[in-house]
């Protein structure tokens, strides 16, 4: 058994710095590269892509990336865990196999694929058996949006990834797997942690939580002493250097920018935190009130003392459904009296929308530069502000009403208050809203499937 395993995070979300994973592979020693591609509504985008093209439906960026890094990964034995498979894990794996062959690596790469997360085709059957898939946030039964569902995927935990790794997979591709499982699985595989070793499973889960947002734990978006965080232009993405006993060090490659210190790690630990006593994943329940941090030298923070409890009997389901349409229009008003002008323009716009008899579920006006983020806490806007942006959004079920709204923004330039600009982009776009419906399903309903393929 190795004394430590270094797991490097390469993407904090789908669309993060494209070169970050390459730099993780080339910038120093690592054992695993972990890539998190799936945000809450990503699956529905992929479902739509697959409906148009049966070969699509996964994170396409993953393929050219693997083309760049696969030779180095094979040479140095670096393994990859990625939830890049979206709603077409097999298609994603086929694309990676094609890349491996193209690079002359046929027979040298084993690819593990994890499926069984997609329950879209089982929804009616589940509902008919009384599994209601109620919305975890508001308690509504799924039947209320049944006709609008676009995708339904269970968050799978680390176990099926571990199985793929145990069968010699070098690249493990999943659909909707948890971000934390992508980090925990390699640790279970390497260190042989037992399925009921709750403290260690919790430790691996928390290591995953810290690095899953990429550079957000290594200096990015860090409020503490932000001015002095060095060289964010060349920010180093995080690495979890884990030991068999469940302790780990958060660090980054030498010579990279950014900063790993206790404040930067604390900020990330609290990110998107609910009840810190119970961070629930398919693998365990982690207790964030047991985490201890210790300075371990420059850009190194040691994490220890973590305790966990048994996993629950449920898995979380991520369901997406169509929820109407929205559009957002903006205009910029300049000095003098920028805020007053933006307010006047808003009144004019609202009066015109009323006269048109348009109905919206929600209309929101914000004044960017005055109060858009901090509302009344920002105090009375400065009378001499150089500019204020008027930003008006509408949401509703009737697409034509939203379309009509988009035609009312530009005319304000010639028919409203003066010193207005900022309309180079044309009419606002009408967007279809795909909303998120979190639910729970008994674990016994879900059977993850693992296959290992040779390139």
């Amino acid at each position: 058994m190795k004394e430590t395993i270094r797991i490097a995070a390469g993407q904090g979300f789908w669309g993060d710095l494209p070169d970050a994973p390459v730099r993780q592979v080339e910038g120093g020693p690592i054992d695993y590269l972990m890539l998190d591609y799936l945000a809450e509504v990503t699956m529905s985008i992929m479902q739509k892509q697959k409906a148009r093209d049966p070969n699509a439906g996964y994170a396409r960026d993953f393929v050219p990336l693997m083309k760049r890094i696969l030779p180095a990964c094979v040479e140095r034995g670096i393994k990859v865990t990625a939830n890049a498979g979206g709603v077409n894990v097999r298609g994603c794996a086929d694309a990676i196999i094609a890349v491996a062959r193209e690079l002359g690596l046929a027979g040298k790469v084993r690819i593990g694929i994890v499926t069984g997360d997609d329950i879209m085709s089982r929804i009616d059957e589940l509902l008919s058996r009384g599994i209601e898939l109620r919305n975890m946030d508001n308690g509504e039964p799924l039947s209320s949006v049944r006709e609008s569902i676009q995708s339904a995927n269970v968050y799978l935990g680390a176990a099926p990834l571990v199985e793929a790794l145990n069968h010699g997979a070098q690249i493990v591709i999943t659909g909707r797997a948890t971000d934390t499982g992508l980090t925990l699985a390699p640790l279970i595989h390497e260190f042989g942690w037992a399925a009921d070793d709750w403290n260690r499973l919790a430790a691996g889960t928390i290591a995953g939580h810290i690095i899953e947002c990429g550079a957000q734990c290594s200096g990015g978006n860090c409020q503490f002493d932000w001015r002095n965080i060095p060289n964010l232009a060349d920010v180093g993405f995080p690495i979890a250097e884990a030991s068999p006993d469940g302790t780990f060090v958060i660090t980054k490659h030498e010579g990279t920018g950014g900063r790993v210190n206790i404040p930067s790690v604390k900020e990330q630990l609290l990110y998107e935190m609910g009840d810190p006593h119970e961070y629930i994943t398919p693998d365990c329940v982690a207790d964030f009130t047991t985490i201890h941090l210790q300075d371990d030298g420059r850009d190194r923070v040691r994490v220890y003392g973590i305790e966990g409890r048994p996993a629950t009997e449920f898995l979380k389901v991520s369901i997406s459904y169509s929820a109407g349409y929205k559009a957002v229009g903006t205009l910029v008003y300049a000095w003098p009296d920028a805020y007053e002008k933006a307010q006047a323009a808003n009144k004019i716009l609202r009066a015109r929308l009323d006269r048109l008899g348009l109905y919206f579920d929600h209309v929101l006006t914000e004044f960017v530069g005055a109060s858009a983020t901090h509302g009344p806490l920002a105090g009375e806007p400065r009378a001499d502000a150089p500019e204020v942006q008027l930003r008006v959004g509408v949401r509703g079920q009737d697409r034509s009403a939203i379309e009509r709204f988009t035609k009312e923004i530009a005319p304000l330039i010639l028919t409203g208050p003066p010193a207005v600009t900022g309309f180079a982009g044309g009419r606002p776009k009408v967007e279809e809203i795909v909303a998120y419906w979190p639910a729970l399903i008994p674990k016994s309903e879900i059977k993850p499937m693992v296959e290992v393929l040779d390139a």
């Binding site: 409020q223 990110y271 609910g274 810190p276 009130t289 929101l364 914000e366 509302g375």
Partner: protein
């Protein structure tokens, strides 16, 4: 004396549906008991006024010298439903740091704030 939270704490916020969370972290260990005493769920609810329509919940993490707040019904429906610039609640962190609290001169000295 009155002091703004930004002088003794840092913060990060994020979203879960229509709920924003704000992690409030004491910059120095001595500051944590002051945060526990002064930055109660009620005070935070008051501070945010109409920006938070639901309840405020508070959790203590003495091991990190931090408090976690859940601000329910504060993101205009949350996720893709929200029309807000900050639909993900990313700036609720600094909005909380605007809050003023009362500390003793002795505490101010310990935190080197005077």
């Amino acid at each position: 004396m009155r002091v703004q939270l930004v002088k003794l704490a840092h913060a990060r916020s994020g979203d879960k549906g229509d709920t924003a969370n704000v992690g409030l972290i004491a910059m120095r260990a001595e500051g944590y008991p002051i945060l526990v005493r002064e930055v109660t769920a009620e005070r935070v609810k008051q501070h945010f006024q109409d920006m938070v329509r639901g309840d405020v919940e508070r959790f203590e993490l003495p091991n990190l010298g931090a408090l976690n707040f859940l601000l329910h019904e504060s993101l205009g429906g949350g996720g893709t439903l929200s029309l807000m610039t900050d639909a993900q609640g990313k700036t609720f962190s600094t909005a909380l740091l605007r809050m003023e609290i009362e500390i003793s001169d002795n505490e101010a000295r310990k935190l080197e704030l005077n």
